[in-house]
């Protein structure tokens, strides 16, 4: 990214004192990320920017959550839809740690089973998948045993 772009980005999304910055979210998945992390249900100060220029993603989103530090298994949930997301942990305006997200070995909730005849699509049941392949993503439903792949991935 060019220096001029960096400056612009800083202007668009203001810095936080303490908390977590989640960068490199595909712009189209911003609201899914917000839902998965439950950011719509917490009281912390949150700023986000979307449709920002990104060489890698075309158009990206960024979220800054004040006074919030995510556990690994919590943040890894977003790896399904934002596999390139990067986390900056901020303490007193300084980045003290950088993290990347990792696709977990199993997934509960979040994803819908693509099989219309699956019990999870016909009764109120939290879906459960075993991740049988991380790239390209393939999830095996623990109920109907069918595989939901990247092309059929749908967030609940």
């Amino acid at each position: 990214m060019k220096d001029s772009n960096k400056k612009k980005l800083k202007l668009k999304v203001s810095a936080i004192k303490d908390g977590t910055v989640i960068d490199h979210i595909p712009a189209s998945n911003l609201f899914d990320v917000i839902n998965i992390l439950g950011l719509n249900k917490i009281e912390n100060q949150i700023t986000f920017g979307t449709n920002l220029e990104s060489e890698k993603l075309g158009s990206k989103a960024i979220i800054k959550v004040s006074d919030k530090f995510f556990a690994d298994d919590e943040i890894n949930k977003i790896a399904l839809i934002a596999p390139h997301a990067k986390l900056n942990i901020i303490n007193d305006y300084v980045v003290t740690e950088k993290k990347i997200v990792e696709i977990p070995d199993s997934v509960q909730g979040i994803v819908k089973c693509f099989n219309p005849k699956c019990i999870t699509n016909n009764e109120k049941i939290i879906t459960k998948f075993k991740v049988i392949d991380k790239s390209p993503l393939a999830l095996k439903c623990c109920y109907c045993e069918k595989i939901t792949d990247k092309d059929h991935l749908q967030i609940i």
Partner: protein, 303 residues
């Protein structure tokens, strides 16, 4: 102690398979044993399947158990909108064991999570039907005297046929098997099962027809090729007679070869095969009762 559900064939280990085979042989010798005396089995058929239900209910009766249940889903609470969750919770309080068939895939796994008592899956949509596989294995053991070193021919719809998939998974636990898959282009054995065999170092071969190779078979497992499975009806017309077994095709086959079929058959086995000593599909169905007695006894630790 955790309960012993049987939902998918792979819930069982090789030791479990062998245990079921031993018990089934024991029940075949002595089918009437009062092991379920004083116990109640819930037979929940959320979709009708007279054949499987009668087989299970015969097994339960021969073990001296009592049966409560749903035989006709049209008249039950299912149509009044009660969730599967609530039905299973309620039945868990009444019975010692649930045998269930359901049109939705994954319903049995979910029921097993909800139920405090063991669940035996008698078919969940197109997904799993493990008791069929165990009775198929018992039929192979009885007719061949072993479960390893079998040349298994699977014929017909190998793409959607859940019975062939489960049988493949179970038989792949035993040594020196050879699989021959005979199916039309549109209904080939799915890649995931072939990959499983490759990982286990098991030989398999794929063919479009089987008249020339049939003499190598120990077991010929027939399934139906349904017209609805073809995107192009002309393709179906081209292949529909290729996957029909006739008596004359069996003439030079090995003396030990046996023809299996999960039934009901339509026309994939010509009726002229019925009188052949190599036809085993009707005996296979009877083996279902002994195998299900064995599964119930194993599940409830009655033996």
């Amino acid at each position: 102690m955790s309960k012993k559900d049987l939902i998918s064939i792979t819930d069982y280990t090789k030791d479990d398979y062998l245990r079921i085979m031993d018990l089934a042989a024991e029940f075949e010798k002595n089918p009437n044993q009062d092991l379920l005396k004083g116990k109640v089995v819930a037979s929940l058929f959320f979709e009708p399947s007279t054949r499987t239900r009668l087989s299970f209910e015969t097994a339960i009766s021969r073990l001296g158990g009592r049966i409560i249940g749903i035989a006709d889903p049209g008249s039950s609470s299912v149509t009044k909108g009660e969730t599967l969750h609530d039905t299973i919770r309620m039945v868990s309080n009444y019975a010692d064991l649930i045998v269930m068939r359901h049109p939705l895939e994954g319903a049995a796994r979910y029921a097993a999570e909800v139920a405090s008592i063991p669940v035996i899956n008698a078919g969940d949509g197109a997904n799993q039907h493990p008791t069929q596989t165990l009775l198929d294995m018992y039929s192979i053991l009885k007719t061949q005297g072993r479960l390893d070193n079998i040349n298994i021919f699977m014929v017909g719809d190998l793409k959607y046929g859940r019975t062939v998939h489960s049988l493949l998974m179970a038989m792949s636990e035993f040594d020196n098997q050879i699989f021959n898959f005979i199916a039309p282009e549109e209904l080939l054995m799915p890649e995931e099962y072939k990959m499983h065999l490759r990982e286990k170092g098991i030989k398999y071969y794929e063919h479009r027809e089987f008249t020339d190779i049939i003499n190598a078979a120990d077991i010929i497992y027939m399934t139906r090729v349904q017209k609805e499975r073809f995107s192009d009806p002309i393709e179906y017309e081209k292949v529909k007679n290729v996957y029909i077994l006739r008596e004359k095709m069996l003439r030079n086959t090995k003396p030990n070869v046996r023809v299996l079929h999960p039934l009901p058959r339509v026309n994939e086995i010509h009726t002229d095969v019925d009188k052949s000593e190599k036809a085993y599909y009707f005996d296979q169905a009877l083996n279902g009762v002994f195998t299900r007695e064995a599964i119930i006894a194993h599940t409830l630790n009655l033996k």
